[in-house]
């Protein structure tokens, strides 16, 4: 192909930009070195597998969060069921009382600190019984002295009412 002088100069690859195909293929093979079979050794197979692996990594980020949340929900549900309330009621009740424990911490408490978890369920039962809601299949909780504070918890905004 006949090119003018300026275009010929531009077509010469730069010294520090490696145009050799080795560099791109090596990049893919670095990611595929633990794959099974020839996909870990041959570029033409590795390219496909590596691209698919990247797609999986991307897709799994959202899925991983969902699955962890599901696991936490399952564990909280199971732990609450032993004390007679549904897991949703616990999470909702704690939120209404301004007790800021997320699902991750609640499931850790349920596993490693079962008595603290029981006291949380007692709190929630007390809160609901003060409102007149009785959870089905629930044992009456240990007496929880609330002094009406569960219904109007001290949050930074309403601290002036308690001074």
């Amino acid at each position: 192909m006949h090119l003018t002088c300026p275009l010929w100069v531009r077509r010469i690859p730069k010294i520090y930009r490696n145009n050799d195909p080795f560099y791109l293929r090596n990049l893919y093979l670095q990611f595929s070195f633990l794959f099974r079979g020839r996909s870990s050794r041959c570029f033409r197979l590795a390219e496909q597998r590596v691209i698919k692996a990247f797609q999986h990594m991307n897709a799994m980020r959202a899925v991983r969060k969902d699955r962890f949340k599901q696991l936490c929900d399952e564990r909280i549900d199971a732990a609450c069921a032993q004390h007679g309330i549904p897991g949703k009621m616990l999470v909702d009740g704690l939120g209404r009382m301004n007790i800021q424990l997320n699902r991750k911490m609640l499931q850790q408490l349920a596993i490693y600190e079962p008595y603290s978890f029981k006291s949380l369920t007692d709190l929630v039962k007390q809160y609901h019984s003060e409102l007149g809601i009785v959870p089905p299949n629930a044992e009456p909780p240990a007496p929880v002295v609330t002094r009406g504070l569960l219904q109007s918890p001290i949050v930074p905004g309403n601290r002036k009412y308690y001074e």
């Binding site: 990247f54 004390h83 349920a110 596993i111 490693y112 600190e113 079962p114 008595y115 603290s116």
Partner: protein, 172 residues
Amino acid sequence: SRQMLPRVFLSQPLQNGVSRYTCQLKRITLKFCKFRPNSLGAREFIENGDFLEFARANPQVACYLKPRRNRPPVLQAEFANGSVQLARIDSFPAEFVRRWFWLMRGRSGDDLLPLHENLRSFHPSVQGVWTPFTFGRSVGLGDLPDSRHRPMSPSATELIQQLHRLQSARMS
């Protein structure tokens, strides 16, 4: 991917911190250019006295300055386990350079790998890990098969029975 970068558990080299804490950072080198604008933050960090402040506050760390012409600025940290970590501080403000110094001071030199959990404890439970017997024997009671434990999908026997029913309905 998790094949290349498997998740690890948080750990310290030689259980550092259990009885006595040793600073794992041994040498820190600030490489910068005296003229180029992307080294401005590094130069300001040195001129404001923050570098000397770091060196005096950490006598256990050997601090070096390495002016290099026409190169971007870099922070090189060497640790007790032999690993070397580089932080590119290209065009960073002086405050960011200062923060990188103090961050390297707190590191152990282990590779930055994805973690299973951000916490680790050999005694995670104070009250005792939950068992089915923690609150009396209130779970795991009952006889099997329990009518509440119905699987969502039909079993092989049930499938064959369903097929048989459909087939006999078609035949008749």
